[in-house]
């Protein structure tokens, strides 16, 4: 929990800096895929491991996973329809039967319509979502952050000795 909170604070910091756009976008994308798959499944654990090992913004990934897992509830009927049509495809039944009888693979629960639908939906849309998130981050920085930094309130905050102390602290220990 401490790790997740720390990562979320980092996200706020990076989001408000000029760097790390790709890291945030990639993190959000992985969270997007994780949100659409059951957490306690093989693929869920693999994505989690990927988030921890690859230098993506983990806070962004966790927030995104939380948000998209809520969205997934609303999209379950659609996932069910997608999953059912894929799992019932005659041409793929041989592959699915082989996977079903392989060790470990059944722990992905790929034979469930919602898991299959959500998984395919997440993977197919992931590259598109990466660019969407990247665009949104840069838009945020230009449209919201720059304007906020021009406000009198922010200027007043920047003038306080606490802010200056914090910036110094962040430079050495942050």
């Amino acid at each position: 929990m401490t790790y997740i909170l720390k990562e979320i604070f980092k996200l706020i910091k990076i989001l408000n800096s000029e760097n790390g756009t790709n890291q945030i976008a990639f993190g959000l994308t992985l969270g997007f895929v994780l949100g659409f798959s059951p957490f306690l499944s093989l693929q869920g654990l693999l994505i989690l491991l990927l988030i921890l090992i690859i230098r993506v913004q983990a806070g962004a990934a966790f927030l995104s996973a939380f948000f998209f897992s809520l969205v997934a509830y609303l999209l379950d009927p659609m996932f069910h329809a997608i999953g059912e049509s894929i799992l019932m495809m005659e041409a793929l039944s041989g592959i699915f039967t082989t996977l079903y009888n392989m060790p470990l693979i059944p722990f992905t629960r790929f034979n469930n319509t919602i898991v299959m639908g959500g998984g395919i939906f997440g993977i197919v849309l992931a590259p598109i979502m990466y660019y969407v998130f990247k665009f949104l981050v840069s838009k945020y920085r230009k449209a919201i952050l720059e304007r906020f930094q021009q406000t009198k309130f922010w200027k007043a905050v920047k003038a306080t000795s606490f802010y200056k102390w914090y910036m110094k602290y962040d430079e050495y220990f942050g």
Binding site: I53, Y100, P103, N111
Partner: protein, 639 residues
């Protein structure tokens, strides 16, 4: 200052795409697990197995070593010695080595499939190098305590004086050496007769008035008399009035009848209850007789039950311990599944369930499957006395996936212990939905050092230095057992210890003619409280032997006891019966007569009413006929 900061910023290396810190942590973590499994896991497992088995057995269990391997998933346990709780100098079971080869393919599906297993150096009742520790302070569960209590009870039964002791007493001259009349008893029957005499007198006084009333039926007779006195008038209006009067009288009479009948019913019930109470005196006489028998220790000897009482402990010692272990093992047997499909049921998920599409299973395993375990034991090994060979196949948690039941076969001998022809066949199946084991065990010959059959201060009998053969056959279900056992003891030497020289001599004579005992036992029902039925030729042989000595002595003693009771109460009982007998004529008969009279009385009113109706009907008919005749004459009709 700013330049320095810039330099710092410039010298900071750009970070790569992988979090090396975390990766290092993972590598260290995996290495740690590897080192633990390589150097410590086996020692900790050995300690864990040893502790768990000791806890379950309540006596020391030793494990020499445990070896595990992850490359070829396998583990081997060497030198298992299970101390016998009741005899800590011996091991109840010992195993030289138990090794298991598992399948990775199954482990990756979270299933345990043992491809090959070996159990070598299997031995029973072997002496330990040093006595094992026992842990009686370990708290037993309720069922275990029950088992322990049952065993203790049986031990007490055998050590105490049993039916053979009673036979010995009869042979020694029998009870009732003391005169029965010398003893003052308080008989329940005598006390009850006194109470009943008083009660009969009280009842007679209460019944007297009621019976008189019922005998006379004054009020009812008066109403009937009034009803009979009514003369119906020709005038229909007056006749209708009289009919109404008759109905009112009938109603009044019905009230009286009801009242009388209720009295009769109450009296009859009182009479019956008193009669039953008097009948109970006979039961009290039996109780008093039993009390006298107990006082003079007159035994109830049922020869057909002697084997059951004498050999019960032996049969339980043969089968009981194994039933206890089965009772323990069955706790871990998977519970019955309602149907096969349940195993593949959909899992509950937090999110919307979706639908699980089931694809054909081309390679599936049950949760647990021991494909084959070879069992062997060699008496050439100095630690072991048994030569055993056998196998267990297809022990699984789901017989339907495996397609075969579990089969166990063991055969062998133990020359050093003079045991030969050991064979044990068992088939465990859950085809019917519930686990059931069919077992057949045989031992062609084994020595019997001593079986104590009766042990008391005055008489002891034991079967010693014989050989026996035994067969146990039957089935063990989840809840109940159904086993039949037959043991034949040959070349028996009897150990007889009798206080009385006379008794010892007689028993010696009887038992020297009994070199063989054929014992049959049947155990059915719940494991903790089985029904045990035992029979043997011991009964008949003993009965035939002692018949000439004790014939008549027992019956004579019992008759004396009964006579002692009857003599005491004879006079008062006769008086009571006479007094009560008189009530039958004086009270019961009038009641029955009164009941009949009341039944008839109800009909009298109907009869009067019917007579009146018939009269009126005839009158109308006659009048109609006359009018018709007149009309015919007027019209001059030819017919």
């Amino acid at each position: 200052m700013e330049e320095n900061n810039d330099k710092k910023k410039k010298t900071k290396k750009p970070k790569g795409p992988i979090r090396t810190g975390l990766l290092t942590f993972l590598v260290v973590f995996v290495a740690g697990i590897f080192i633990y499994t390589k150097f410590f896991l086996d020692t900790h497992l050995r300690w864990g197995i040893q502790t768990a088995l000791t806890y379950a057995n309540h006596a020391e269990v030793n494990v020499r070593s445990v070896t595990t391997s992850f490359t070829k998933p396998s583990f081997a346990i060497k030198g298992i010695q299970v101390t016998d709780f009741n005899n800590p100098e011996f091991n109840s079971i010992q195993v030289g080595e138990a090794s298991y080869q598992l399948l990775w393919d199954a482990l990756l599906r979270f299933k345990i499939v043992i491809d090959k297993a070996n159990l070598t150096g299997l031995g029973f009742n072997q002496k330990r190098k040093s006595p094992g520790k026992i842990y009686p302070e370990v708290k037993e569960d309720a069922e275990e305590s029950l088992l322990a209590k049952e065993t203790k009870k049986e031990v007490e039964e055998i050590t105490n004086d049993n039916v053979l002791g009673d036979v010995a007493k009869l042979l020694d001259g029998g009870p009732l050496k003391q005169n029965i009349k010398d003893i003052k008893f308080d008989f329940k029957s005598e006390q009850r007769i006194k109470e009943l005499e008083k009660l009969v007198d009280e009842k007679k006084a209460t019944w007297k008035n009621d019976v008189k009333e019922i005998k006379e039926l004054d009020k009812l007779n008066d109403v009937i008399k009034r009803a009979k006195a009514i003369k119906f008038d020709k005038n229909p209006i007056k006749a209708a009035k009289q009919l109404k009067e008759l109905s009112a009288l009938k109603k009044e009479a019905d009230g009286y009848i009801k009242n009388y009948k209720s009295k009769i019913s109450g009296l009859k019930s009182d009479y019956t209850s008193l009669k039953n109470s008097i009948g109970e005196v006979d039961d009290l006489i039996k109780e008093d007789t039993k009390m006298v028998q107990e006082h003079f220790k007159i035994p109830e000897i049922n020869f057909s039950e002697i084997s059951e009482r004498v050999f019960q402990k032996y049969v339980m010692s043969m089968i009981g311990p194994y039933m206890k272990y089965w009772h323990m093992v069955k706790e871990y047997i998977p519970a019955r599944k309602k149907n096969y499909k349940e195993e593949f049921k959909e899992e509950k998920r937090v999110r919307a369930a979706g639908v699980n599409i089931a694809f054909p299973i081309t390679k599936g395993y049950p949760f647990f499957w021991l494909k084959r375990m070879d069992i062997s034991s060699d008496s050439k090994n100095e630690d072991n006395a048994y030569n055993l060979e056998g196998f267990i196949t297809n022990a699984s948690s789901n017989e339907k996936i495996v397609g075969k039941p579990m089969v166990m076969k063991i055969s062998g001998d133990a020359p050093a212990k003079k045991i030969s022809g050991i064979s044990f066949d068992a088939t465990v199946s859950n085809k019917s939905g519930e686990y059931k084991a069919d077992v057949l065990g045989k031992v062609a010959s084994f020595p019997v050092e001593k079986v104590s059959l009766s042990k008391s201060s005055k008489f002891g009998l034991a079967l010693t230095d014989s050989t026996a053969n035994t067969t146990v056959e039957g089935s063990l279900g989840i809840k109940e057992a159904n086993l039949e056992m037959r043991t034949v003891f040959n070349s028996i030497k009897w150990d007889i210890n009798a206080e009385s020289e006379k008794t010892g001599k007689i028993f010696n004579e009887i038992f020297t003619k009994m070199p063989e005992v054929d014992l049959k036992g049947r155990i059915r029902g719940n494991y903790l409280k089985p029904r045990i039925k035992i029979s043997s030729n011991f009964d008949q042989q003993l009965k035939a032997g002692v018949k000439s000595y004790i014939s008549g002595k027992l019956d004579e003693a019992k008759a004396k006891a009964r006579k002692a009771v009857e003599d005491r109460i004879a006079e008062s009982k006769s008086k009571l019966l006479n007094n009560f007998g008189a009530t039958e004529q004086g009270y019961l008969k009038p009641l029955l007569d009164g009941d009949k009279k009341l039944s008839d009385a109800g009909g009298i009113f109907d009869q009067i009413k019917k007579e009146q109706e018939n009269k009126a009907k005839n009158k109308v008919e006659n009048k109609a006929k006359k009018e018709l005749k007149k009309l015919k004459e007027k019209l001059k009709l030819p017919f």
